[in-house]
């Protein structure tokens, strides 16, 4: 009985997640992007926690907490610092203009849903219907990485993808085994750390984070 409410809320959060991904696609300003990323993380954490509570999968609490700490607090804060330090918070002109990107995004979502349908049939979890959304989030994040021509947005796209994956894990299988989750989280953290080193190096070598400076290595 109560499950259905939770379920509806989870679905709502899932929809929110998808919405945020679209918002990220259309967001030009880096700061805005980071905020959206934080919100996405929050939605993810909430849904995970909810699932954990409603299904009694306790290890999901840990991953929810991890998400909260890493993706809602630590990383956004960190990125804000980076942006401030390197003051690169200028408009990001995407490679493909926003409306087109949106259209492609919608196509991707439909595609993802179709793809996920046969699978979620098989799923025994209450949250199976959200698998399609997870996949959609992943693909949208991918799309965003393609369209953005600055370093930081690309990284945020990368992390958004990670969010999608986490969401897929929770929604399809109530999360991966804990050790894996931890490992993944660790990797993500290190990854971000490494990336931030890059930001500074790139910045000091090309004095901008614009990727168009990084097209030297090519076949003449």
């Amino acid at each position: 009985m109560s499950l259905t409410y939770h379920l509806q809320i989870v679905n709502l959060l899932a929809a929110l997640l998808l919405l945020i991904s679209f918002a990220m696609l259309s967001q030009r300003r880096i700061a805005g992007l980071i905020t959206l990323f934080a919100w996405q993380g929050a939605a993810l954490a909430a849904s995970t926690a909810l699932v954990a509570w409603s299904t009694g999968q306790h290890h999901l609490y840990y991953s929810a907490a991890l998400t909260l700490v890493l993706k809602v607090i630590a990383m956004p804060w960190y990125f804000f610092r980076v942006v401030k330090k390197l003051n690169v918070d200028r408009d990001v002109e995407p490679m493909i203009n926003i409306p087109t990107t949106m259209l492609i995004g919608i196509v991707l979502v439909i595609f993802a849903f179709n793809l996920a349908l046969p699978i979620s049939e098989l799923s025994g979890t209450v949250t199976r219907s959200t698998l399609g959304i997870a996949l959609a989030t992943v693909l949208l994040a991918f799309l965003m990485m393609i369209t953005r021509s600055k370093a930081i947005p690309q990284v945020i796209g990368f992390l958004a993808m990670e969010n999608g994956l986490f969401f897929a894990a929770t929604s399809a299988t109530y999360g991966m085994p804990l050790v894996v989750e931890l490992g993944v989280a660790l990797d993500v953290m290190v990854g971000v750390f490494v990336l931030s080193i890059f930001f500074f190096q790139i910045r000091e070598t090309f004095d901008s984070l614009d990727l168009k400076h990084m097209e030297k290595l090519r076949e003449k």
């Binding site: 991918f142 393609i146 990084m214 090519r218």
Partner: protein, 672 residues
């Protein structure tokens, strides 16, 4: 199949393998001997020559004894080296050993002056080369064969590039190795077709495998391509005139004289031994290719002015003749004319043997000339007969032999081949009856042109006046060189004088491949392959009569004639002062041929203007095949690689799109 370790060195195949090992150890010993140069230069090559003699002996034993096989404990886990010595391998081992002995004896003198380091490396590759060739002949499974085959190619590549300072030589070596490698891959595919599946690559299983005509043809074509690339079959010949001249002369001799024959061996092995069906058109194809190759080769030989390049082209011609004989053999076998097949095959083997000797002789001859003069261009030679008589007379024997003149060996094999052509009436496919006469005519034409080429070769180099004052200092070759040349020349003469014996030795090979054997219907001094009424040739009588008449005339002239001789300037139609530049140059001698056959060539000419103070003439006849077949391939490859290059243009977004597109495509692909 013995294990090999338990009972070693008991039958011919193991002796042969021992010979190979001896060569290998010798090669690596040479590396160690760098510190003691005099030992290196005095010891290694003579020992190698002994090894060659031994191999030839083993070959003879293999011809007499039944086939023997052994499995070595090396190779792939499921596929150790299988070696087998049957009559065919044995014959080619005799060829190899016989020619290699003379050439290596020659080499022992030729390389004396080399510095220790390069000499050691050269000795290593040289003996690896020899060992590789013998292993090719012994191999009884695809892996051993390919390994030996490529070792042969690789070592000869390093031999070709001995003098790698010269860019042309590097280019030649590169072209050689490239075409050899492509050929090798096509051989791999051949064996891929022949193999029984699930990784059984021994020739024994291949012999048993039943093939559909389609796959058999595929295997045959691939083999023809692969071996043709090694043999220098037109249009795969382009590497040969580059690589053979580039190598040091003894190596050129080995490559032209022996290595090309391994390709012929492989062709015979695959077509007649491994494939258990043959199809008529195979023969026609080989015949056609062979004739084209023969004619093409000899025509280009006629217009060369670099002596070694000329010889290389003439090797192409001879390969063409061998291919034609091969094709004819196939035609006869598929047509059920066993006896004729035997005759043709005999001609083929005989010619292979002959070519090994006279081409080896000619190449080492050019080696001595090269040492004496330091140039390869015939435009700087002439009159060398007076400064290096040994080389000249011995080379003359080779030249006459390769020109197919009686009573030397070249004539015997051509005679046999022409006989085979004459026996053709009654083939079932009528179109063949049309083809054969034309083929015979082409062979005859090629032979006649060969005479032209050889007159040019010998005349321009050794006769006439020296075209270069430096030639007066030209020195005769040393004794080892002379001995080597003597051996080869003796081979040319003896093979010419005793064909009946040689043919009886070839009998086991012939009966192995075409369940027929050639009976010599004549006595020991007369060769009558079919029957005495149909055709016979007795070189000994021939030789005896010529010699007798010659002697008689000589004596008679001495008797009736006072014998007063005056020396004076040449008369030359009373033309007062004439110098060396008035003789025909090499180009001049080839000019008529070039005029007649210009269609095959891309001719470059820069003629001097009549009033220039220092008139300069340059003419070159380039191989059109290069521009027809190879240049387009290169262009296409370049274009493709440009297109491929466009994919890699550095924008990470694009790279991401590749991954994205791949993902989407695969998802659609798998879930539809």
């Amino acid at each position: 199949m013995t294990n090999g370790l338990s009972s070693y060195f008991t039958d011919p195949v193991q002796w042969a393998w021992a010979g190979v090992l001896f060569w290998l150890t010798l090669g690596f010993a040479a590396l160690l001997l760098q510190q003691v140069p005099q030992l290196l230069s005095r010891l290694v090559f003579p020992l190698g020559a002994l090894g060659a003699l031994f191999i030839a002996g083993v070959g003879v034993a293999g011809l007499l004894l039944p086939a023997s096989a052994v499995v070595l404990p090396i190779g792939l886990p499921d596929l150790p080296f299988h070696l087998r010595l049957d009559a065919l391998s044995a014959f080619f081992m005799v060829l190899l050993g016989g020619a290699a002995f003379g050439i290596t004896v020659y080499a022992s003198g030729y390389f004396k002056s080399m510095a220790a380091g390069p000499l050691a490396l050269l000795a290593l590759w040289y003996h690896l080369f020899l060992g590789g060739m013998v292993t090719v002949l012994l191999a009884n499974d695809a892996y051993a064969f390919m390994v030996a085959w490529e070792v042969m190619a690789l070592s000869s590549y390093f031999l070709v590039t001995t003098d790698h300072k010269v860019p042309e030589i590097r280019r030649a070596g590169f072209l050689y190795l490239l075409i050899a490698h492509v050929g090798a891959i096509s051989l791999l595919l051949t064996f891929g077709v022949l193999q029984g599946g699930h990784g059984d690559y021994t020739f024994d299983t291949m012999r048993l495998a039943e093939m559909t005509p389609f796959w058999a043809s595929a295997a045959y074509l691939l083999a023809l391509f692969g071996f043709g690339a090694k043999a220098g079959m037109v249009p795969l010949h382009v590497w040969l005139p580059e690589a053979h001249p580039a190598a040091p002369s003894p190596v050129s001799a080995l490559m032209s004289g022996v290595m090309l024959k391994t390709a012929i061996y492989g062709l015979l092995r695959v077509t007649f031994d491994l494939l258990n069906i043959q199809i008529g058109w195979w023969g026609t194809l080989a015949l056609a290719l062979g004739l084209v190759t023969a004619l093409y080769g000899v025509i280009f030989a006629a217009v060369q002015s670099d002596m070694k390049r000329l010889l290389a082209w003439s090797s192409i011609e001879n390969i063409g003749i061998l291919l034609a004989a091969f094709g004819l053999t196939l035609i006869f076998t598929t047509d059920g004319k066993g006896a004729l097949a035997a005759l043709t095959l005999t001609a083929l083997l005989y010619h292979a043997l002959n070519h090994a000797f006279f081409k080896g002789l000619l190449f080492v001859g050019t080696g001595s000339v090269l040492h004496a003069t330091g140039v390869r261009h015939m435009g700087h030679m002439g009159g060398l007969m007076r400064f290096m008589p040994w080389t000249a007379w011995l080379t003359l024997i080779g030249a006459l032999a390769i020109a197919g003149l009686p009573p030397l060996n070249g004539f015997v094999s051509e005679w046999l081949l022409l006989q085979a052509f004459l026996q053709t009436p009654g083939l079932t496919q009528p179109y063949l009856n049309m083809v054969i006469p034309v083929a015979a005519a082409t062979v005859a034409l090629a032979a006649a042109l060969a005479a032209y080429v050889m007159v040019k070769f010998f005349g321009v180099i050794f006769l006439g006046q020296p075209r270069d004052p430096a030639l007066h200092e030209a020195h005769e070759a040393g004794w080892p060189e002379r001995l080597g040349m003597l051996w080869l020349a003796a081979g040319c003469v003896l093979l010419g004088l005793f064909p009946a014996q040689v043919i009886s030795w070839l009998a086991p090979v012939v009966s192995l491949l075409t369940e027929q054997s050639l009976v010599n219907d004549g006595n020991w001094l007369m060769l009558a392959p079919v029957s005495a009424e149909r055709a016979s040739y007795a070189p000994l009588i021939f030789f005896a009569v010529v010699a007798a008449v010659l002697l008689l005339t000589f004596v008679w002239v001495r008797r009736v004639y006072h014998g007063r001789v005056r020396r004076s300037d040449p008369w030359d139609c009373g033309y007062p002062e004439h110098d060396a530049r008035m003789q025909d140059s090499a180009e001049g001698f080839g000019q008529p041929i070039r005029q007649i056959f210009e269609v095959f060539m891309r001719v470059e000419r820069e003629t001097p203007d009549p009033f220039s103070r220092s008139p300069h003439y340059h003419g070159a006849s380039l191989d059109k095949a290069w521009f027809i077949f190879y240049a387009p391939i290169a262009r296409v490859a370049n274009w493709l690689s440009e297109q491929a290059g466009r994919l890699q243009h550095g924008r990470i977004q694009w790279y991401l799109i590749y991954s994205f597109a791949t993902l989407i495509f695969l998802l659609v692909f798998t879930t539809r």
